[in-house]
């Protein structure tokens, strides 16, 4: 069964360092999402890609966070510099183009747990 892949699964870093997370969506999924989930809360959408284009990054802290999906397939989320408050689970999800299916059912990867010391 096709799955969304994420790496690394765990990352420990010191504040002010740079970190990067990688996501490989299910093949054929045009839409890719990055979420941040703070312990005890629901996931918060950070950025949504349609192919290689960003369609929603309204909740992305752009002073320190960046995301790219250059070829419209896999994606990288970067934080520079990391802050203590960035400690969270970072989830990647993908879906078929909801404009075609009418429903953006998302498939989630296992996540990257980030700890900033």
């Amino acid at each position: 069964e096709a799955e969304v892949a994420q790496s690394p699964r765990y990352k420990i870093t010191e504040k002010s360092q740079a970190v990067a997370f990688w996501c490989d969506p299910i093949s054929g999924h045009a839409t890719l999402y990055w979420y941040r989930q703070i312990l005890g809360q629901g996931p918060e959408l950070l950025v949504q890609f349609q192919d290689e284009s960003v369609v929603d990054d309204s909740q992305l802290p752009k002073d320190r966070f960046s995301a790219e999906r250059l070829k419209g397939v896999d994606s990288t989320l970067k934080i520079q510099p990391a802050e203590l408050g960035d400690s969270a689970m970072y989830l990647c999800a993908s879906s078929l183009d909801p404009r075609q299916g009418g429903v953006n059912e998302q498939f989630f990867g296992p996540g990257t747990r980030l700890t900033v010391l």
Partner: protein
Amino acid sequence: AQSVTQLDSHVSVSEGTPVLLRCNYSSSYSPSLFWYVQHPNKGLQLLLKYTSAATLVKGINGFEAEFKKSETSFHLTKPSAHMSDAAEYFCVVSRAGYSSASKIIFGSGTRLSIRP
């Protein structure tokens, strides 16, 4: 604008008894509604989805939910709880069939505990 409210942060039931997890939503558009489950140290898994077809939606593992437009609710139910149902459950609202800025909103989650 869209929002979703999960009315209970924690629900505890005995094994074999019914489960009810409550979700209310607000949407300026025709909504798509979902329930996801998150087991400890595992990824989010889709339980069921509402897409403006049947208002009673059946999902995996015996769960179902009913879309009630007049009450703006999408409560999740299961007739008989099993120990393996212990997990965190999330209600999700998004704008139906719209790609750009779908404004996907997750609820804050309901932790379901099952007593033996």
